[in-house]
Amino acid sequence: MTTPGTVAALALAAGAVGFTAIAVVGLFRLPDCYSRAHATSKSDTLGALLAVLAAAVAFAEPTTTLKLGALFLFLLLTGPTAAHAIVRSADDQGVEPWARAVADGPGGDPDDGAAPTPTDGGEEPRSEPRRGGERADGGERP
């Protein structure tokens, strides 16, 4: 006996698991603190909101709907806010964003399919790796 409420709650829970899985894959594979915060702040928050909606549909009582609505609003407000605070602290500390010249990402260097083609031999060939201190745009590391 599958009522429409059951189907809706299970679909919302499945969506929650899917978006949280996307967030965890982003935590695994993205190369930078900033991009990881980007992945988790959006995808993990959306997964949490879908799971809260699934719980609200499963309960289907006024009191629990009120509590879960409060939890919904709270997660919606505080997830991206916390991620913004963390990223701002990273920027204040001087954590550098990932650049393609610095191939020290935890997931390894991503595929170079999107790498810009060098124009008329402007760059030296990649016979030797770049030093860690020099940036691709010539700026100095603070």
């Binding site: 935590l27 603190c33 879960l68 709270f74 997830g79 806010t81």
Partner: protein
């Protein structure tokens, strides 16, 4: 009713596994901020697991626990983010 409870329990179990997977970043994050991001994601997943367990087991008292845990998770993240930069400075 049994199908709904079982499905929610399976979803909660999958979210527990995903939260433990997010804990990978706690051990090998190059910066402190990576670890705080991972802790925040794990805390959000824990809140969701508590709410889903309350829905699956039919106990509304779990939702209060989930609300308080969400508050503490947010305070942990913001407090660590401020502490890392200012070493216990006042919020500006």
């Amino acid at each position: 009713m049994t199908l709904l409870a079982d499905g929610l329990l399976v979803a909660a179990a999958a979210l527990v596994v995903l939260g433990l997977g997010a804990g990978h970043r706690l051990f090998r994050g190059p910066t402190v901020q990576d670890r705080v991001i991972a802790a925040n994601a794990m805390g959000t997943t824990t809140v969701v697991v508590i709410a889903l367990l309350g829905a699956a087991l039919g106990e509304p008292g779990y939702l209060d626990v989930a609300l308080v845990y969400a508050l503490l998770n947010f305070l942990l993240s913001v407090g660590l983010a401020k502490y890392v930069v200012e070493r216990g400075g006042v919020l500006q």
